[in-house]
Amino acid sequence: MIGIFGVSLPGLFGQLLVGLINGSFYAILSLGLAVIFGLLNIINFAHGAQYMMGAFSAWIAMRFFGVNYWWALLLAPLVVGATGILIERGMLRRLARLDNLYGLLLTFGLALIFEGLFRYKYGISGESYPVPDLLAGGKNLGFMFLPIYRGWVVVASLVVCFATWFVIERTKLGSYLRAGTENPELLQAFGVNVPLIVNLTYGYGVALAAFAGVLAAPIFNVNPVMGSNLIITVFAVVVVGGMGSILGSIVTGIGLGLIEGIVKSGMIANLLGNIFDKVPVLGSLVYPVKLLFSPEASAVTIFVIMAIVLLVRPAGLFGRER
């Protein structure tokens, strides 16, 4: 078998594809955060919990009301998005004039409450959501076995990401949104209902999280902490992409997913090992770097990249200095 640095070529393609799948999850979650931060200037720490609520709504709808996956994909974001609208209306709006630290604390508290309630009701082991029949099974691509459902996840999230980008950057409604970010008072003076736009934007960001949750339900075990495991990584993605940058969050989400995939394959660690292990002093110097890029440290990779990006470009790859 042809191989590079101890990883077979089919293996590498497989890992890249898996990276792409995870990357599209990162993209759609960080997109929601970016939309919210862009317009509301709120760091929505409840995003992970809202993603979890999306997955649980799908499960509850199936279990108790017999609602199938496709309807859940539509309904769960609407329902969870509606709770988002209520949260903005009832709580976040009151904090609008304060430092954005207050919004962060409020949403963090809400995340803990939501998780606690679900944990109390459903326990920690979680529930199992089946893959819909239409997307069950997989296809052998030669270099790997691709579950059809995972392919669908990539397509669905890319479509939603692109549509969101298009609406915000290329339509009249989007121009209002962007104007609201720049100067809300002036926009209001033109007769645009800015509070309504802000309200719906938060609802939409939350709905995106719930949408990702429904996409994730058949892959991951649906449990109350599924969001908190992911949220920190997604924040790192947003920071690397540039806070509030729509395109940045999409591109970085996918990019970091790919890099994580390569690290998990062990290729970078093997490569560093092959080059430096035999060099006496340099070998031991490179050793910590090698450890940092070994599969078991893959959870750290994104944060290492975040640290490097912050050192070089504090506003993130696609962000603007304010």
Partner: protein
């Protein structure tokens, strides 16, 4: 001044005397036997231990009070150790120093168990581990104030590993959680696999906890091994099994869950887990006795007990009986009594606690039923084999515990 001080001292001494004078029979420090349940109340392991463990301990205390009518008071307190060694050690220190806790029970992760055992040894208090699984608890890091009750990685790994190799699963690849427990589980299993004539092709370490296992599963898949050993636990195992089905790994390659609890099978469903082999220290539906206790537990908790929770009940009962029999809650006296008395209840038959603190009892090799074969809720296992305690656990001759005289 001196007289005042003397008077105060005498008064204090008298006051301290009163409760113990009232309790003539058993000499119990501070007038109460206090049990601290230190467990994972909200994290990954809170379903297999957590609130259910607390319920089991409370049931044990209630039953003991009703049956034995002891002449001492018993109190149960609980806390969440969050699976972090430092938090667990601090809590244990606080409990022993301020709350006067006599025995600390459950302790779900190896790191927390080892940290708390050290504190308890230093302060001369008893620890009884039911949740944690690694063998160092009764080997390199054993203490004479600790009992490891329900199971350990060696028993599970050798039970499942041996059965799977015998079924023809000769080549193995491990998916291992990157911490002490995962590595111990992998090592114990690969030793048995090699001993039985199998071969280990490789392993991959994954971060703990992890959500997406696809990268690691692809590596396991390309290894071509017949069996993928899952040296992890809780949600990690659940997600790995679920995603292995998705990537078409099963049924071509088979999975061996090296630490699976009935709550995991319940959460995954029989469709995903059918046919898997696993070793367990307790199965609720094994016989009349286990069913009777488990149904009582089920009424309180809303789900059937795991082996950890059943073990909690049994070990706390054993502890309280030892306190009563020894007539004191003094650590060394109670430890000696517990080690001298065999354990016979619904959980264990002729169980005995060895010098290294290991409680030796029969283990069960189970195979998960098919969805068609399951007739009522929680009807999940066929018990295929009873593994006698002496064979199930690591023999003392292999022990690295300094307390074991050779």
């Amino acid at each position: 001044m001196v007289r005042k001080l003397l008077c105060a001292l005498v008064c204090a001494a008298l006051a301290a005397q009163v409760p113990s004078a009232a309790l003539a029979g058993t000499k119990v420090s501070d007038g109460v036997v206090k049990i601290g349940v230190l467990t994972d109340m909200s994290g990954t392991y809170s379903d297999l231990a957590g609130p259910g463990s607390l319920i089991a301990v409370q049931m044990a205390v209630e039953d003991f009070m009703a049956k034995e009518k002891p002449d001492f008071k018993i109190e149960v307190i609980s806390a969440d150790h969050q699976n972090k060694g430092d938090i667990a050690a601090n809590k244990a220190r606080e409990w022993i120093d301020q709350e006067k806790v006599d025995m600390i029970a459950d302790l779900v992760t190896t790191s927390t168990a080892l940290a708390v055992m050290k504190v308890a040894k230093e302060k001369n208090r008893i620890t009884m581990v039911s949740g944690a699984a690694s063998t160092p608890i009764t080997n390199e890091q054993c203490t004479d104030t600790n009992v490891h009750y329900t199971y350990d990685t060696y028993a599970l790994a050798t039970g499942t590993g041996r059965a799977v190799v015998k079924q023809g699963g000769k080549t193995w690849f491990f998916l291992t959680a990157d911490y002490a427990f995962g590595k111990a589980l992998e090592k114990d299993t690969s030793d048995v696999v090699v001993e039985e004539g199998g071969k280990v092709l490789g392993h991959v370490l994954h971060p703990f906890p992890a959500q997406d296992f696809s990268s690691f599963l692809l590596q396991a898949q390309s290894s071509g091994a017949q069996v993928i050993g899952l040296a992890n636990a809780g949600n990690d195992t659940i997600n790995a099994i679920k995603q292995a089905g998705e990537f078409g790994i099963t049924p071509k390659q088979s999975l061996a869950g090296l630490l699976m609890f009935i709550t995991d099978v319940n959460s995954l469903g029989l469709q995903a887990t059918q046919g898997m082999y696993l070793t367990t220290g307790f199965y609720w539906d094994y016989n009349e006795e286990t069913r009777a206790w488990s149904k009582r537990f089920g009424k309180k908790r809303g789900r059937m007990p795991t082996m950890v929770q059943a073990g909690d009940y049994s070990m706390v009962t054993h502890y309280l009986e030892a306190v009563k029999a020894a007539g004191t809650d003094d650590t060394q006296a109670v430890m000696a009594k517990m080690k001298a008395t065999p354990i016979n209840d619904f959980f264990a038959k002729n169980g005995k606690i060895r010098d290294d603190g290991r409680m030796v009892h029969d283990m069960y090799l189970a195979r998960v039923k098919t969805p068609q074969g399951s007739e009522y809720p929680w009807d999940y296992y066929n018990i295929r084999e009873v593994i006698p305690g002496d064979k199930a656990f690591m023999p003392l001759s292999k022990s690295k515990c300094p307390l074991v005289k050779k």
